[in-house]
Amino acid sequence: MELATRYYNSVNYISGPLLFVEGAKDLSYGALVDIWLPDGSKRGGQAIDVSEQFAVIQILEETRGLDLAKTSISLREHVARIGVSKEMIGRRFNGIGNPIDGLPAIVPEKRMSITGIPMNPTSREKPSEFIQTGISTIDGLNTLVRGQKLPIFSGAGLPANEIAAQIVRQSKVLGAQEEFAVVFAAMGITMREASFFIRDLEERGALSKTVIFLNLADDPTIERLLTPRCALTVAEYLAYEHDYQVLVVLTDMTNYCEALREIGTAREEIPGRRGYPGYMYTDLATIYERAGKIKGKKGSITQIPILTMPDDDITHPIPDLTGYITEGQIVLSRQLHRIGVYPPVDAPRCLSRLMNSGIGEGKTRADHRELANQLYAAYANGRDLRKLVAIIGEEALTDLDKRYLKFAEDFEKKFINQGVTNRTIETTLNLGWKLLSTHLPKSELKRVQKKHIDRYYGELMDEIAVKAE
């Protein structure tokens, strides 16, 4: 803490959100500063470039009212930090951590740098605890484990928010009773979308276990770049210092990336693919990699980022680069959404890279892996046959092919389309068996061992009729 506050008065040039200050070469890169206006009010800013001659300050709010002669800058702190405390649970903050719920500021237990420190790779513990989300397409085919980062690749108008809210509401680790917390970071979403989440959390009593960071569509763009980092810093604090099992929901990463592009362009950086900065991959990694479990510590961070694929295009830089970093993806289908399936999960395009660590005997069930393989293969075959039918017609198919077609249809109607219900893993697996037993003969189930067929095939037809429907 310094005794004297230094004011930098030589603001030479203002361009968009950027101030060029002379004689400020002692400012640290990334330092947070206060910008004092002629009328005495102050705004926040961050040093984004330092050199012998100029320091470039990016103002975090609007630039109206600033003038070259009377504006001055003072240092707030060298490193962008956020005060963290367990008291943040149940509170609501804006994009950079200031309270917006009408209650006073928190008393921080410590101030942590929002960029965090990368985890020591050898200290990372392999995630292996099965999380039951209650959603069959996830639990059955793309299993989520504690510590995983599994994004939802959505499209404009598709119900990713509803699905994320359902996951937050329904998730549990079977048999465990540990402290859990939710950190919800909203970037660039509308007030309506934010209200939906908040109301949903409130209705289920989860609001008191949630830390909310809101940077809405009308909040400053630059703040959007700090929001996920503030949220993850709080998550890391709760997880690794207080043993919480934290679920972090980041929505919408597309708005984050567009903010990155906007700022990059304002800084006249050389654009990369589609105008996004060349370093977007690294930048996204500094967000997504802040998840997982640490050896010797009880807490964990599980991330569910949500992004909207522009034009439903999975090869767009945002989903493309995200997919390289995250441990799989849940992709939503517009086609399924149109015919009224909820959740409209496009099973063949989904993946969970950590699934195998969290399933099987002692975790979910011994037949899980093989059943998932068989369901996937049968559904994929059915989807392929639909393309064939478009050309040669359904009559030209063999009886067996027609069964696969019916299987695919039933799979979409009953397995995928579960509505807002919470299914146990037993129900999910049994429903899978029921669908296979209904449509396909035993001889077709080549991905499953005979002992599982003997045990589960056809056995549970009536049981399921009572439970799932």
Binding site: N356, R369, E370, N373, T398, K446, R447, Q449, K450
Partner: protein, 125 residues
């Protein structure tokens, strides 16, 4: 095998070319090769590692089945007899047979393929 043939019947001649069992091959065997032989599961206790002896036996059984089914078609059988034969599933499950039971199991399957013959058809009216 018995087929009931009615006393009065009508003949439709479509003047189309149909399957000529003498010339056409069964390509379903290709699917069997892929699914029952090539596709292997690293997570299956029995199937993760397949020793040479087992691989050899599996292929022998597949080929024996192929040749026999071609013969059956030539003798006038129809394609459903081949596609719906219970031997297909038996051959498909060979991958899950343990090494302990391997010799016996293979012998049994090969014998069943050999004794698989077209039953003479009796027509009743």
């Amino acid at each position: 095998m018995q087929i009931k043939f009615p006393k009065t019947y009508c003949v439709f001649d479509f003047e189309t070319t149909g399957l000529d069992p003498a010339k056409d091959k069964i390509i379903e065997i290709g699917a069997m090769l892929r699914e029952d032989f090539l596709q292997q599961s690293a997570f299956s206790e029995m199937d993760a590692y397949c020793p040479m002896e087992k691989q050899d036996g599996m292929l022998k059984a597949l080929l024996a089945f192929y040749h026999k089914s071609a013969q059956i078609l030539k003798q006038g059988g129809n394609i459903e007899m081949v596609l719906e034969s219970p031997l297909r599933e038996k051959i498909g499950r060979l991958k899950d047979v343990s090494l302990k039971d391997w010799k016996n199991n293979l012998q049994q399957v090969l014998k069943e393929v050999e004794t698989w013959n077209l039953q003479p058809v009796t027509i009743t009216q």
